[in-house]
């Protein structure tokens, strides 16, 4: 279960089928991202793919008949039209056509009728229809997927084809559970279920033997956990995304002061960068130590290089040299990233903030926490967006509290020209379930949680900055422990009861996953479970707030009437 590998295997297959000779890869906007996240350009060169072209923009009329053309596009109507035109007057010698998902037969017919020069050699569906970020994390790059708390039709369709793609490329036919009470989750689950039945010939895998439960597809809703994307992150990949933003594995560093020109934009790919792969889930303290050690050992090496006296020295140096050279480039890159992160942490007082965030999320202590939030929100050194995050967390946490101080905090935020309108929107976005369950530390009914909380309190906390456990992790643990989750996560169809928990889970979060959740999944995988996480996109706090705004647009205000003053102010 490795989503990067599954995309690579598909691409390798396409290239292999085209055979030897110079090749060009013709793609659309989305498949370009899909390919670029699986292979670097250098790797493609080694596979004899020398040119890349976008079918949807800036095409020239040059004819290069000695090139083989591999077409890898999504089966959209526009793409079919463009490809028909291409085939009518072919620019390249032969065509190997691959669609990233199920294509209607009529479209094949249209294309066949255009191929008058008999240049098509291959027409296939492959299912690399998702962006593989880590081995166990995929995204569909849908920045916002809801409107008035309901699906955008395009986003729903894209999510269905993306998930179908993941299932087919991993060869699993799962049972489907969805978050009870979430309309969007139920809709998506139903659509995927229907598609699986319609394409039953594709999904004809043998069911697991000896009574094992089938793999599970778990459809979740971001609205049930709007807290996780708002927290300050302390593991490498999550931090980089939170503070610098990762887009298709690329990080824009051009705004960083004093960055060398070749590092204005860096690629952070677990597949191509060993250091990153090893450390993307390390916390900041660990990674700082690791990189220091690495630099020290390189300095040692460099010193050694100067005093090569014996043959033995030379041999040792030469043997480690390629690795040394390869690594020194990466180390340089990570050094720039890490020092920028470290600069932002101190400038924005993130340690202080994070402590309060975690405290609010994990412990109930209203008056003290309100005091701290008030104090920090008013302080100039606290970034206005970070202040907003604090208020959002507070307002969700203590929405029903008798002495709720949200209005006061909003006034403070308004004084600093903060985006106050986001608070009522967030209160509309958070689901009913999350309202009652997310901060249920004081609920007597949930004995298990209460006991756990008590034990936690007695043991003391290992790390104040990473106490929070995301909802996803809790559910996955419940599932693997074999507890019944039917009440909150029912099956979309009747599934015979299995005594054993499923061995493989694909979890998909509507409204975007986060790198904190990716790390939780990674930890479970290290314990031997097999989980893949996906989301309509991968959020950091900022992109999540955009999602919240888009999702609540057009939705009636039910929960935040008291805050409407601020809402109308923002509309004006």
């Amino acid at each position: 279960m490795n989503v990067i590998k599954s995309v690579q295997l598909y691409i390798d297959k396409m290239i292999e089928e085209a055979g030897v000779g110079m090749k060009i890869l013709l793609m659309d906007r989305e498949t370009t991202s899909i390919v670029s996240m699986a292979f670097s350009q250098t790797e493609m060169l080694q596979k004899e793919v020398y040119l890349f072209e976008r079918i949807d923009s800036g095409r020239s009329n040059e004819r290069l008949k000695y090139l083989k053309c591999i077409v890898f596009i999504r089966p959209t109507r526009e793409n079919i039209l463009r490809l028909s035109n291409e085939l009518k007057s072919p620019k390249y010698g032969s065509y190997f056509i691959y669609f990233s998902n199920v294509i209607p037969r009529t479209d094949i017919k249209t294309l066949a009728e255009c191929d008058e020069s008999e240049s098509v050699r291959e027409v296939k569906e492959v299912y690399a229809d998702f962006l593989s970020i880590n081995a166990n994390l995929f995204s569909l790059n849908i920045p916002t997927c809801l409107h008035a708390l309901n699906w955008y039709q395009d986003a729903l369709d894209r999510s269905v084809s993306g998930i179908i793609g993941v299932l087919l490329s991993l060869k699993i036919r799962p049972a489907i559970r969805f978050k009870n009470g979430s309309n969007v989750a139920q809709q998506l689950a139903k659509k995927i279920f229907d598609t699986m039945n319609k394409e039953s010939s594709l999904f004809s895998f043998r069911p697991p033997e000896n009574g094992d439960a089938p793999p599970l597809l778990l459809i979740l809703d971001r609205r049930d956990d709007p807290v996780t994307p708002l927290l300050t992150q302390w593991t490498y990949q999550a931090m980089v995304h939170q503070l610098l933003t990762i887009k298709n594995n690329r990080v824009d560093l051009s705004s960083v002061v004093g960055v060398p020109s070749e590092l204005k934009e860096v690629v952070l790919s677990a597949e191509q960068d060993e250091f990153y792969e090893k450390n993307l889930n390390s916390n900041f303290g660990e990674i700082a130590t690791t990189i220091r050690d690495l630099i020290e050992s390189f300095q040692l090496k460099a010193k050694e290089q100067k005093k090569i006296e014996t043959i033995q020295d030379m041999k040792n140096f030469v043997e480690t040299y390629p690795q040394f050279k390869k690594m020194s480039g990466t180390v340089n890159k990570h050094l720039v990233v890490i020092s920028e992160l470290s600069m932002q942490i101190s400038k924005k007082a993130l340690l202080e903030l994070s402590e309060l965030e975690q405290d609010m999320v994990c412990r109930a202590d209203h008056s003290a926490q309100l005091q701290k939030v008030k104090k920090l929100v008013a302080e100039e050194r606290i970034n206005i967006d970070d202040a907003l995050r604090l208020i959002l967390l507070y307002s969700m946490r203590y929405e029903r509290h008798a002495n709720c101080g949200t209005v006061g905090l909003l006034n403070a935020l308004k004084a600093r020209n903060g985006r106050t309108h986001l608070v009522p929107k967030m209160l509309e976005y958070i689901s009913q379930y999350a309202r009652t369950e997310l901060f249920s530390t004081v609920k007597i009914t949930d004995a298990v949680k209460l006991t756990r909380q008590l034990i936690k309190g007695m043991k003391g906390v290992e790390n104040v900055y990473t106490q929070h456990v995301c909802v996803l992790k809790e559910i996955l643990e419940e599932i693997f422990k074999g507890r019944s989750i039917d009440q909150h996560y029912p099956f979309i169809n009747d599934v015979p009861a299995y005594r054993r928990p499923p061995k493989e889970i694909v979890a998909f979060i509507i409204g975007g996953a986060t790198y904190e959740e990716a790390m939780a999944v990674h930890q479970l995988n290290q314990m031997g479970y097999r989980v893949i996480l996906g989301g309509t996109t991968i959020h950091n706090s900022e992109s999540f707030l955009d999602e919240v705004i888009a999702a609540t647009n057009g939705a009636p205000f039910k929960h935040s009437r008291s805050l409407q003053a601020f809402h109308s102010a923002s509309n004006a």
């Binding site: 297959k13 080694q46 066949a112 020069s117 027409v123 299912y127 690495l294 090496k301 030469v318 995988n525």
Partner: protein, 463 residues
């Protein structure tokens, strides 16, 4: 292994039974045979342990900690991650539509093909024995293709405009259909010839000229859009199949070179490794010859890819991008596989190291053996046949490790021995193979030689 229940850890040449420290290997062996001679079977085990320990120490001497340290610092959690996510993975599902595609495409193509073939045959007829006089040309054309009666057609079928005295009717010379002058297309005689006979080179018309309608009936053939399209499609397919631009030849050359050099690189690395191990299979001269060969291929590749850059291509065009990309591919290849070859060891020093090591090894082995022999003679264990056998066996194993030459000198008198002759023949082969740089051959021949030499040694031993 003996300090399991002992809190103190002692180091040195310890006796495994009484644990006294004996300072040197010789002393220890003597001590062992003095004090614990009753434990016979232990002696052989002890010797084995001793030997393997020595081997380990000798090998480990040349491994540096730094490179290991770097590796280990880079490989946190390596084993754990690799288990689940780097294991072999099957390729996902795919679905083939090509059969259906062909079922739609091919009948259409066949229909077109027959039609096109008919047109080409007509074109051929039109061009053979073509009269020069315009009046006669018309007659010639009408004889070959029946023209449609002009009275039946009131409107031009392609632009739907009516015919009258300024918009006159024209006939397609290939199918006989009617159209107006605006909708007529013209194919030059030269182009027509090249369609009929694609393998023949005809003076190519200027590309700018093809779009311009040429109206001299002597040099062109008038035809309708449909016929022209069919002919053009055919011509393009032919061109595509016949086109072998220089870049493809260049590219093929580069790829063959790349493929050829890979085994050489692997071989070179093997030779260097074996040199450092102190094996005598390959010589430094082998390494440098092969390195030279790889180097010259690298240069050739570099030259070829540079040539690609000099090929004519419009600025900013796809072709130019391709040339650049080709060049980059070659540079990456050279960098990755050819530039980072390990250096050739300096001959004198490696020899010294080798000799020293071999000598040390020999001396130690000899000394140990002598000591053991003496000890056995001294303490009279001659009744023990099994030991004698082990001893001679160890001896033979040791012989194959070091160079054979010493023994050969002793037995120089036996020049007529068939084994010696065979050995010399094999040596000759090795020399030839070396000159031709066939290194795989050398390896198997060397193995062969060793076997022969061993056989010979056994033989002399028996005598």
């Amino acid at each position: 292994m003996f300090s399991d229940n002992d809190s103190e850890i002692i180091e040195g040449f310890l006796c495994p039974i009484c644990r006294s420290d004996e300072k040197t290997a010789e002393d220890l062996l003597r001590h062992f045979e003095d004090e614990h001679s009753e434990e016979k079977d232990l002696i052989s085990t002890f010797r084995d342990v001793f030997k393997s320990a020595k081997k380990k120490i000798l090998n480990n001497l040349d491994e540096r900690e730094i490179s290991k340290a770097i590796e280990s610092s880079l490989s946190i959690n390596k084993s754990i991650i690799r288990v689940d996510f780097k294991g072999p993975q099957e390729i996902g599902i795919f679905k083939d539509h090509f059969e259906y595609f062909k079922a739609i495409r091919n009948p259409r193509l066949e229909r077109y093909a027959t039609e096109t073939n008919k047109l080409i045959i007509r074109l051929n007829k039109l061009l053979t024995n073509r009269p020069t006089d315009p009046q006669q040309i018309k007659q010639h054309e009408q004889n070959l293709v029946p023209w449609i009666d002009g009275k039946l057609v009131k409107l031009c079928p392609s632009c739907a405009k009516s015919f009258f005295f300024t918009r006159r009717q024209h006939h397609c010379r290939l199918c006989g259909a009617i159209m107006c002058n605006e909708c007529s297309h013209f194919l030059s005689i030269d182009e027509s010839m090249s369609i009929i006979n694609p393998s023949h080179e005809y003076p190519k018309p200027d590309s700018s000229q093809t779009d311009v309608i040429i109206k001299e009936p002597e040099d062109t053939i008038r035809m309708c859009e449909h016929c022209l399209h069919l002919l053009e499609t055919r011509k393009e397919m032919q061109d595509g199949r016949l086109a072998r631009p220089f870049i493809t030849k260049l590219y093929e050359r580069i790829e063959t070179l790349k493929k050829e050099v890979m085994p050489d690189i692997a071989m070179y690395e093997k030779i260097i490794k074996s040199l450092y191990k102190g094996d005598s299979v390959y010589t430094i001269a082998d390494a440098s010859a092969l390195r030279g060969k790889i180097g010259s291929i690298a240069e050739l590749l570099d030259d070829l890819s540079k040539k690609a850059l000099t090929l004519k291509a419009q600025q900013g065009s796809r072709e130019e991008a391709l040339h650049k990309s080709l060049r980059m591919g070659v540079i990456k290849f050279i960098k990755e596989y050819m530039l980072e070859l390990p250096q050739i060891p300096v001959e004198d020093e490696i020899k010294k190291i080798q000799q020293k090591r071999v000598m040390e090894l020999n001396q130690k082995i000899e000394r140990d053996r002598r000591l053991a022999q003496e000890a056995f003679e001294k303490y009279d264990l001659c009744g023990d046949i099994s030991y004698a056998a082990t001893s001679s066996k160890t001896g033979s194993a040791l012989r194959t490790v070091d160079n054979w030459s010493g023994y050969q000198e002793q037995n120089q008198t036996n020049a007529n021995d068939p084994l010696i002759i065979q050995i010399n023949i094999v040596k000759g082969y090795i020399k030839q193979a070396r000159e031709a740089m066939r290194f795989e051959e050398i390896e198997s021949l060397e193995a062969n030689l060793k076997e022969l030499q061993h056989e010979y040694w056994l033989k002399t031993q028996n005598n």
